[in-house]
Symmetry: C2
C-alpha cells in the first residue's frame, strides 16, 4: 500500500476527474458504498479467487474463550471484511436500495479495493477501480453503452487506439459442448483455456490431458486450435465471428455479437483517431471498430453469464480493464433475477500510461517573506491576493537559495511570486511572473 505525495495525488485526481466526467457524460450516476461489507457476503462464492485474498476485520469484543473456540471455527473471528471488488458491493447496494433506483440503473463506482496480493511490480494491496454497471437492461444496448463509454473514456485520457476483445460465455459453453466436454468439466477446462495466451495451443492440450477430462474432446479441441487460418485481419462482424468458431454456431449468439459490433461502430466518430489498432471496419455509420472477437477469451470470474470483454491497448501487453454480463448475481442477494452488466477500468494500470492531464490554468502566487514580518501583515496580504482573484497563495519564508524555492514553486504549478521584506509598508504587493 502506498502513500501519494502532492504531485502524484494531484495527477491521480485530475485523471479521475476525466474518467468521472466521461462516465457521467454517458448517462451514468456515481454512488458510494462503505469499504467494509459483511464477511459472509464477501465469501458467498461470488468473488472467485479474490475471496481468498480478502482482508477480514477482527470481530470486536472477543474474549479469551471466544478466541480459543475460534481455533476450530476461524470464521468466528471475523464479521466484516474489506471489499475486494466493486461488483459484490454493487449487487448488495442494489438489493438494499432498489426501491429508490430507476428501472434501468447506470452506476459509476470509483474507489479503492483491497487484496492481499504478493507484492510485485504493478500490483498493490490497495488499488482504485473505476466501474460502470447497467442493472435492469438485458439487451445488447447495455453492453454497447458500456463499451462505448469505456473506449470514449480512455480516448479522453489520450489513450486512443484502445481495443476491446469480446466473447460470450454462451459461445464458449456451446463450443466446449460441441467438442464433447461435459458440463462438469467446463469450469476446469475454462481455467486452462484462460492460459492460452501464455502457454499456447500445445500447452493447453497438455494441461487438459492432465486434468483427465474427456479425451476425445481434448483431441477435437487441439485439432480446432491448430487448424489452418488465414493471417488476414477480418473486420469485426458476422464473417469473422463464424470463422473463429467451429461450424454451426447458434444464430442467436452470433447475432448478439454482431449487433454489439454494429452499435459500437455506430457510436464511434468517423473521423476518429488513426487506425493504430489495425482494426478498421467500414459500416454505414462510419467510424472504426474497436472490437476484436476472441473466441477463447474467458475472464476468470464464475459469475459471468453472457457477453464478456477485456480492454487492451497496443502500447502494453496487459489488459487495462474488462467486464461482462452477470445476470445471476443480483438474484443471489435479492431473491429475484435482475440482469446486470459491468465494465471496470483498472485505474492503477492506466495512470502510468496517461500523459498528464492539463491542470486548469490559474494564477497562483508564492508570497516570500522575511521571518520577522508580522503574522497579521502576512495574512492580510495573503487574503488580499485571494480576494483579488488569485487562485492559490502559498507563504514561504525567504530561504538562502531563492532560486531553488522559485523552481520548486513553478514545478508545483505556481505562476507568480511576490516578496515582503521586514520593514516594508506596502499597500499592495507587486506580483512577478515565475518564468
Amino acid at each position: 500500500m502506498r502513500d501519494f505525495l502532492p504531485a502524484d495525488k494531484a495527477r491521480r485526481e485530475r485523471v479521475l476527474a476525466v474518467i468521472r466526467e466521461r462516465y457521467r457524460a454517458h448517462g451514468f450516476d456515481e454512488i458510494e458504498t462503505p469499504v467494509v461489507e459483511e464477511h459472509l457476503r464477501l465469501h458467498a462464492g461470488m468473488g472467485g479467487d479474490n475471496e481468498k485474498l480478502s482482508y477480514s476485520i477482527l470481530r470486536r469484543g472477543l474474549d479469551a474463550d471466544g478466541i480459543r473456540a475460534a481455533a476450530d471455527d476461524p470464521a468466528a473471528l471475523s464479521d466484516l471484511g474489506l471489499r475486494y471488488d466493486l461488483t459484490v458491493p454493487l449487487a448488495r447496494f442494489y438489493a438494499t436500495n432498489r426501491g429508490q433506483l430507476p428501472t434501468v440503473f447506470r452506476a459509476i463506482q470509483i474507489g479503492p479495493v483491497w487484496r492481499a496480493e504478493r507484492p510485485q511490480k504493478g500490483r498493490y494491496r490497495q488499488f482504485v477501480q473505476c466501474d460502470i454497471d447497467i442493472i435492469g437492461d438485458d439487451s445488447a444496448r447495455a453492453e454497447a453503452e458500456l463499451i462505448v463509454a469505456s473506449i470514449d473514456t480512455v480516448d479522453a485520457l489520450g489513450l486512443e487506439g484502445g481495443i476491446v476483445r469480446v466473447n460470450d460465455r454462451r459461445a464458449l459453453d456451446w463450443m466446449l459442448d460441441s467438442f464433447g466436454f461435459t458440463e462438469d468439466e467446463r469450469p476446469g477446462v475454462l481455467i486452462t483455456i484462460d492460459k492460452l495466451d501464455k502457454i499456447g495451443p500445445s500447452g493447453v492440450a497438455a494441461e487438459l490431458r492432465e486434468r483427465e477430462v474427456t479425451a476425445a474432446a481434448v483431441d477435437q479441441f487441439e485439432a480446432f486450435l491448430s487448424r489452418p487460418q488465414t493471417l488476414e485481419h477480418n473486420p469485426y462482424g458476422e464473417r469473422q465471428i463464424r470463422k473463429a468458431l467451429p461450424e454451426g454456431a447458434p444464430d442467436e449468439i452470433v447475432a448478439h455479437l454482431v449487433s454489439l459490433g454494429e452499435a459500437v461502430t455506430a457510436a464511434r466518430p468517423s473521423t476518429g483517431p488513426s487506425a493504430s489498432s489495425g482494426q478498421v471496419a467500414e459500416t454505414e455509420f462510419g467510424g472504426e471498430s474497436p472490437l476484436v472477437y476472441d473466441p477463447f477469451l474467458v475472464r476468470g470470474m464464475g459469475y459471468y453469464t453472457g457477453t464478456i470483454f477485456e480492454l487492451a491497448h497496443p502500447s502494453v501487453d496487459y489488459s487495462l480493464g474488462g467486464g461482462g454480463r452477470y445476470d445471476g448475481m443480483i438474484g443471489r442477494f435479492l431473491g429475484q433475477q435482475v440482469p446486470a452488466v459491468g465494465f471496470s477500468i483498472g485505474f492503477e494500470r492506466i495512470i502510468d500510461l496517461v500523459a498528464d492531464v492539463e491542470a486548469e490554468a490559474a494564477q497562483a502566487v508564492v508570497l516570500v517573506h522575511d521571518a520577522d514580518v508580522p503574522v497579521a501583515e502576512l495574512l492580510a496580504h495573503k487574503s488580499a491576493l485571494l480576494r483579488d482573484g488569485v487562485a492559490r497563495v502559498r507563504l514561504e519564508r525567504r530561504p538562502k537559495n531563492m532560486k531553488a524555492l522559485l523552481e520548486r514553486a513553478a514545478a508545483d504549478g505556481y505562476t507568480g511570486f511576490a516578496a515582503l521584506r521586514s520593514g516594508d509598508t506596502v499597500g499592495s504587493l507587486e506580483v512577478k511572473p515565475l518564468s
Copy 2:
C-alpha cells in the same frame, strides 16, 4: 456505515470540491495515505479513546494453534487496522517521506476514517474528515493560516458566522498549577473540565472532589468559576484573555493568543458577512474576528501541546471541527522533534447544514426511445449529441408514464429531452427543454 445514492453522492462531491478548492487556495497540497496502518502504530497511545474504537484487521495465515495461542495475547490476532483519524497516518507519512517534502509542509487530507461507535444520530462508523496540517512551522503563522483557511472554507459553503473557540494547553496547565493541582492530577482534571458545558461549575467541582485531587485546588477552582463576571462580550484580545484567566497569566502565552487574534482579524474581509456571531472586533486591519477565547476549552486528545481550537456555528450546538498544535507526535515516529499543527473539519457534521452547492450549468439530454429502435441507431444519436457539446446523455426506454420520467430527469439535473420512435429516420434529433 451508509450507502450513498446518486443525488447524495453528487452533493457530497460538490461540497468536497469546494473544501478542496479553498484549502488549495490557501497554499495547501493534498496527499493520500492508505486507509490501513500497522496495528502497533494505531495503538501507540496517540489516538486517545479512538484507539479503543478502532477496527483491527485479522492477521492472515493464522492456523488453529496460532489462534489458540492468541487467547492469551489477543494483539497477535492483528497486524493491521483501519485508521481512526488522519493525524496518526499524517505523522507516519511525514516520517516516511520527509526527504521529498518542503521544509514547511502544508497538507490536505480528505478521506474516510473508521470508528466502532455505538450507532446514534449523526454518528457513523465510516465517516469523512477534511484535515489541513502545517508541519515544520512553530510560529503563530501556522495556527493563523489554518484558522483563516478553515473559516474561509465554511464561509464558501454558505456557513458564514462561524466562530473559532481558542485556548492554549499551556494556559490550561498554568491555570491548573496556579490553583494548586499537581502535574499528575492534570489529565484527570482536564477530563472533568471538558464537561463544563454539560455539567456546569458545580458539577465540575463535585466530580473533581470525587477524583480526590488536591482539595484546596478544587476550592480555588470553584471560587474562580463562580467569580462575578460582567455579561458584556469583550472583543477577542488581550483585555478579554486576561479577564478570563486568573491574575498573573504569563505574558508569553497571552501574547501568543493575542497575535493569533490580530493575524486572523487581519485576514478577514472588512466588508464581510454580518456579525451574526455577536463577536465584533475592530482593528486597524478591519474585518471582524471569528475568534472567542475560551479558557476552559480542553479538546480530548492527549497529544496537544499548545494552541487548541474548535469550530462552532450559531446554527448548531455541536462543534463542526477543531484541532491544535501537536509538537510532540511526529518526534515519536521520526525520532526528531518537528512542530505540527492541524485543523480538521468534520465533513458529516457540515454536509447536512450546507445548502446545496450549485452544480455547473450544462446541457444534459434524456434520449427517450421505443424499445425496438435498433441499438446502433440509439448509440449513434447518443454519440452525436455528445460530440455536439451536450455534457450528458442518458438513454431511457419510453415508459407508460412519460411525465414521471421527465420529472425525474429534471430532478437529476437533465435540461432537455429528445424522442426517438421506432421507424423514425432522423438525421439529427430535436432537443426540447425540460421545463
